[in-house]
Structures are given as structure tokens and as C-alpha cells.
């Protein structure tokens, strides 16, 4: 099959991802791309605990993901790729032309960010980066759960 979902979510692996998206997509693997988590066995154990044993979890740095992503895309199984922030999404899309879409699933409040949607808070700089990503041909939408409407980047940035 392929990577069915490229998602930006600062909670990384959590219920919305594993159950909300994982069930309807019948996901068999989750790729978590995060330089910090990929270098911490303890953090990886934490995230694995939230995933049923039949779903494989792959932890990767951005650099390694750029190398391995074509293989994940051609995997016979269905997978989800997760990043925790917009900079990581931009870095990955910049290195791998196969990245054609990103779902903004959860970027929460922090100092300097403004509410764009109930589950999306962005600084002006982050909003601009998402628009630039879209201008490069990546489809950027915001959608927390599959039953919600996919909001085009122009409507929330």
C-alpha cells in the first residue's frame, strides 16, 4: 500500500492517531520522525506503550527518514508518518520530493502562537512556512480526525 497519512501532531503517538486514524485506515505501521525521540530508548518505550502489538512502530531521525521514506512508501502495508512540528515537516519535504501532502493534526497553544483552528495554534512564521510548503506543491490541510473536514491551508494560515 503506502503511507496513507503524513501528519504534524505535537503529541506524536496518541489516541487520535492510533485509534482515530489507525482503525479506519487499518494501519500496520507508524513512522515517528523526530530527532530527539529517535535518540532516546526511554522515550521510544513510552511511545510504544500506546500502540497495539500488531502495529509496528519505527523511530527515525529526519536524516534517516529521508533515506528510508521511499521504502516506506512502497511497503505493502498501510502506514502513518508522524512529525511533531512544522520545521520537521518542512525539513522532510525539502529532502524528499515524494512527500506530497501533510495533515496538520494538532499544534497546540504556546507563547507567541495564535489560534487558527480549535486544534491548530501557529506563530506567523509557522503559518508562513506552511504556505510556502503548499506553494512548493505539497497539499497542506488541517484535520484532527477522519470524520472532520480537511481544512485547506489557505483557510487557517
Amino acid at each position: 500500500m503506502t503511507l496513507a497519512l503524513y501528519r504534524i501532531d505535537d503529541r506524536l503517538i496518541h489516541g487520535q492517531v492510533v485509534v482515530g486514524w489507525g482503525q479506519p485506515l487499518d494501519v500496520s505501521f507508524i513512522v515517528l520522525v523526530d530527532d530527539e525521540v529517535s535518540s532516546s530508548d526511554w522515550e521510544q518505550d513510552l511511545y510504544r506503550m500506546g500502540v497495539p502489538p500488531q502495529i509496528e512502530v519505527i523511530f527515525s531521525s529526519v536524516e534517516k527518514a529521508a533515506e528510508l521514506l521511499p521504502g516506506w512508501e512502497s511497503d505493502a502495508r498501510v502506514g502513518i508518518l508522524l512529525v511533531g512540528d512544522i520545521d520537521t515537516a518542512v525539513a522532510l519535504a525539502g529532502r524528499v520530493p515524494q512527500v506530497k501532502r501533510f495533515n496538520v493534526g494538532g499544534v497546540h497553544h504556546r507563547t507567541g502562537r495564535k489560534e487558527r483552528l480549535r486544534f491548530v495554534y501557529l506563530t506567523d512564521d509557522e503559518a508562513a512556512k506552511l504556505r510556502q510548503l503548499a506553494a512548493r506543491g505539497v497539499e497542506v490541510t488541517a484535520q484532527d480526525v477522519p470524520t472532520a473536514r480537511a481544512v485547506p491551508v489557505g483557510e487557517f494560515t
Binding site: 503529541r11 506524536l12 503517538i13 496518541h14 489516541g15 492510533v18 513510552l46 506503550m49 500506546g50 486544534f119
Partner: protein
Amino acid sequence: MSELRGVIVSHAAVAKAMVDAVTAITGIEGVLTPISNEGCGTAELGERLREAVGPGPAVLFVDLPGGSCFTSSARYAKQGGADIAVVTGVNLAMLLDFVFNRDIPPAEAARRAVDAGGKAIRVTSS
């Protein structure tokens, strides 16, 4: 030693409802603090935990053994500096036992909670 506190960490309003239920059943207030992950990312959830736990000691009662509530709680227990234990799969039975048995260290209270909560899970069929 400060008094042992309980902090319930959940999705949506589960934690608040559990605190209300414990108060309704026991009349005991001020021992349990509810935290929801509603609308907050990892950093803000960590801040909510810091405010609720204070100097500790505390037991964090988390709804699921995985996900943002759990990862934030486990991370805070490891890095927060207070004496903290984490229990997952919170249910009302373990909380009712906890509020009456807090003169013990967090790790022991956590084990006791798991025992009390586990015993409350049964199947009744005709």
C-alpha cells in the same frame, strides 16, 4: 513529609467527572486534582502537571497506558523532581481506595491502587 496527593490525568472531562464521583461517594475533597489534555500540547500538559503536583509526593492516575496523557505523566515523573508514581487504567474503585489510604509512599500507594482497581473489574453474566 507532605501529604500524598492524587492527580488524575485524562482525555476530555473524564478526570473531572471521576473527582466529582469520589467526592459524591466519600465526601472527601481536595485530595484529588483533575487534569485534562484538552487543547494542550506536550509542553502545556507538563505545566499543568507541575502545578497540580507541586512539591509532591503524588500518584498520577492516567486513563490509558499510552498516548499523550501517559507520555507526559511518565516524563514528568522521571524529570519533575518530586516523589511520583504513575498508575494507568484509572478507575473509580482505585480512587476510592486511594483517598482513604494516603499515609504511605507513592510507589506503595500505586501498587495498592492497581490491586484495588484490578479487583473491581469483573464479568457478570447470566
